[in-house]
Amino acid sequence: MASLSRLIRLAVGALAFLLLVSAGPVPANAQQVNPTASSVKEQQLLQELNRIQGRITIPDQRAGVLEQPAGRDWREFRNVTLRWIGGIAILGMIGVIVIFYLTRGMVRLESGRSGRTIVRFNAFERFTHWMTATCFIILAISGLNITFGRPLLLPLIGFEAFSEWSQWAKYAHNYLSFPFTLGVILIFLTWIAGNIPNKVDVEWVKRGGGLFGHDHPPAYRFNAGQKAIYWIVVIGGGLVAATGYTLMFPFYLSGIEGMQIAQIVHSIVAVLFVAAMLAHIYIGTIGMEGAFEGMGTGTVDVNWAREHHALWLDGQNARPGGAGSQSAAQPAE
């Protein structure tokens, strides 16, 4: 401890010394000063830092940034790069789903319905899911509107209508971010236990998740695909929330460059998120027989559980009271 504080003192002392040296005695540093001859040059400053910043008297210090040509790079990203990324990700995903649906069709319950159900998601879980999902859909649409609305929608409905809609979309985007963020947090906490990757997932992935053919790789409550969605929601959601709030509360967290980066992260993550959610929605609805019930009513057919989450079902059965529509009062481990 003692040596550390000595080191600090030394460093401080050295710094003070340096400052003293650079400041010099009162008048000596004033010699030969011709302020006109040595005036600052714009190009030189821009080359050094790619921004020009100075002193300003108003308390709003962000106004001290005189020039930040980085805005041009951001513009390129927003108007070109992002539209490509978003277009490819979303249209690509839709294309994949369509092809998959056409080739594979709905994944059927191979053993048919048993007639017996088992609780898969309790009311709280479902509430959390649907709150987040609803918010997500609105956020996604309003968000996509910011990126794609101007070329796609505006020409169709005209300036006034488009502005009106976009204004409401902006409000919705801003306000729904709060329940969405809450949802992401709840999802994270509620389902973290079932979403730690393990060896079973390796096997599951190796077998392609059973998407092709009639394979049914075993899984606990959440298979690797669901875990992937979980982590996409948690990490992606966390990122869009964090970056979104950076944008919503400008200058609380970062300067203008930070906000540009935040917007870049926000928009890329968001379009990928949207793409991923399209897959999630597909597999949870028309992609797989019996899957929607889990989040719809909260219960699934035991046969569905056996085919897709054999290990989870085993676990449920092993519990006192065994599997039964009334029994699983609490969520799985």
Binding site: A23, V26, P27, A28, P35, P59
Partner: protein
Amino acid sequence: MLIKRTHQRSDRRGSVAETLAGQGGGLDRRTFLRKSGLAGGALAALGAMPVGSVRKAEAAVAGPLAAGATVKKGVCTHCAVGCTVTAEVLNGVWIGQEPSWDSPINRGSHCAKGASVRELVHSDRRLRYPMKLVNGQWTRVSWDTAVNEIGDKLLQVREKSGSDSVYWLGSAKMTNEGSYLFRKLGAFWGTNNTDHQARICHSTTVTGVANTWGYGAMTNSINDMRNSKTMLFIGSNAAEAHPVGMQHMLASKEINKANFIVFDPRMTRTAAHATEYVRIRPGTDIPVLYGMMWHILKNGWEDKEFIAQRVYGFEDLRKEVEKWNPQETERVTGVPGAQLERVAKMFATQKPATIIWCMGQTQHTVGTANVRASCIALLMTGNVGKSGTGANILRGHDNVQGATDVGLDIVTLPFYYGLAEGAWKHWSRVWEVDYDYLVSRFDDKKLMETPGIPLTRWFDAALLPKADVAQKDNVKAVFVQGHASNSITRIPESLKGLKALELLVIADPHPTTWASLAVEAGRKDGVYILPVATQFECVGSRVASNRSMQWAEQIVKPVFESKDDLEVIYLMAKKFGFADKMFKNIKVTNNLPVAEDVLREINRGSWSTGYCGQSPERIKAHMKNQHKFDLVTMRAPKDDPEVGGDYYGLPWPCWGSPEVRHPGSPLLYNTNLHVMDGGGAFRPRFGIEREEKLADGTTRKVSLLADKSYSKGSEIEDGYPEFTLASLKKLGWDTDLTEAEMATIKKVNPANPDAVSWSLDLSGGIQRVALKHGCVPYGNGKARMNAFGLPDPIPVHREPIYTPRVDLVEKYPTLPDAKQFRLPNIGFSVQKAAVEKGIAKQFPLILSSGRLVEYEGGGEETRTNPWLAELQQDMFIEISPADAADRGIKDGGWVWVSGAENNSRARMKALVTERVGKGVAWMPFHFGGWFGGADLRKNYPAGADPIVLGESANTITSYGYDPATGMQEPKVTLCQIVAA
């Protein structure tokens, strides 16, 4: 939302900012304006567009908004440059400002203050009605009640303590007419305790410069600086104090490739444009100037012919200069010899050269000596009385030159006539009032002829033992009309003074710190606030720094219950019962004296200074014909029917009666022109010869008249004394006088008409005849390097009272204690005690103060203007990075500043910057409304508090007064700064 954070971060002040932002002021205002049936817009006929205006003709469809607006011309009230303000008025509402392209002074330009003056008038934080402090609460009263109660109380004080116990503090913000009447009110009341801001800005200039060559004013003009080849700024930050003036200075720098040299302890915004910046230790102006002169004399760069013909006392000066060799100069000032030699060479050889100064030189215990040293430097190099040269002394307030000239002062009656019996008799003749009546108004005739108390020391006059105050009693009441209290040093002691007063009257558009500090001092009653209109609601003349007089129209009527300055003065005079006498020759309508009549009375009495030719009609014609005046010479073409041959604003001296049509004198003491073209010579004001003691004990008589130098066309081709009837007779020119003139002369002095001089002759005949023969009425003398009669006839360096260089105090002590202006000046004792107590160790930083471009003076008015207030929201202190690092102070962080006296301390933000050198700190002096860390917002009458409040620099400033003028010392003291 973008702005929310800023406000939250801005601490206490945030609440105000928040309120304002919440009001969405601008949008409401726009709506308000719309309701007045207008907005934006203007007359497209305003003429002259700047280069680059392309879409002029085709788009002159000025919309429905501009329709019906009238254009009025006023003069900006925020500094002495004299910018014309062009106002558009609709339905009595001032709806917009337009650039004043026609003015040769500002050519359309403004600074932050000038571009926002409209808000001053329509501010909703103006005082609305008279108020009185009752049991510590501000209570509304009527004007009648206020005037009656104030008058009764003043008469009561007068009865008990004598007429000198009321202090009349006027303002450089008043028009000439206002300040003249205020001085006249003092005279009729019976006191010389009438002062105004010139005391704390340029009193030392007036005294020092007048004692050098005759008149204490700027010799040339800002426009004339366009002719300069070398400009030496010493103690001027024109970029912030006179921004529009910088237009002309930078033009000179660019067009003439002029040297732009800035001497300053701070690397100011002016210094940023310098071709050479010299950092000096605060308070060492004299050594640095002498250091320059040492090089000039050593190299023989002085103007020998000029010195021989027009300068007195050169050899005495040489002895003093020789002490300031480069080693000693650098030891004292910190400026290396090589740099000073370079600057000296430029100054002395690249001519014409001028010295520009402001309060950096004047606000010192050695202020008078400082400005004298500057004048001496100019004299030595022959840089006076020609275009491009001279002492370009930039004044601070819009009419501080005029208010000084009209004698709102403690040492003289109007126009520098002094206080002697002859002066009183002159004015009693002008006023057509019995001299004996005036004498009867005073406590005694001796006090009538004794200079009054400087405003810098009003509280000393209230607090010192009665025996120490050389008048009947202490000051018991202060009537302040248009002067800040926070611009006066030693605020902690002024607080005691506020408590001690029996009555305080504040007549102002804003409550000012007089009000908030009076409450803070514990007063519960005996304070009145009278709402006075801004100058934009008044009509009258004002004199810019360059002595040009401009007539300002009334832009809008006084708002709320505000009254014109002149009306307030009239109401008081009426209450005191001498209004009939005082306004004998001035028409008064509805209690408002007619400004034109007042100016005519001024014309009739101001022969000494040449305000006699500036009739209201002539000045108004100048405002109307502004576009005819040349940018550089400021002269109108000779063939113009209205203003032909005149210089803009008839810069005084404008000799003779208006009928003489003297064009004004743009450059003082200019022998290259005929006196009827504005020429002149140095004024022999201090006798015509002087007996000098020689080394061998013998004496010789030395002439103080010019030697073979005279203004162009003069029939006397040598020096000559001032003109009197006797001297006219001697020359045989008395026959040129008309009978009427002769009759008037005889009336002036029936006993001895021969003694009637150019300045006392109410007919103007003596002046007219002198002019006719090409002679300057006041004579043709030598300028004085040796100004015998001043405390330091030859300027000598004296360390500031509180100096960090205690090692120099023994060699360069301040002057001994003495009694000056009715009060003791104990500067010497204070300095000695400070050295003995080791004050410089406890308070190691030099503290200086100065101006911000956004604010003016005490700043209440400008801090109430949101457009300005937004730009400077916090009081701050500049500290060098090195000093800040030593103290763990961060840029923008809070600090406590403590001063050397009264355990004073103040809380403000730190601005860590290399503008100041190590060991120096600097504060702006415009803030007020905090004291010792406490926010005094609650002390203001509700709704009349300025938007921005902050600690006053003068809470920390300390003792120190110039012996010749009573000037305070806000530029050098000591302080300590710690992080809060």
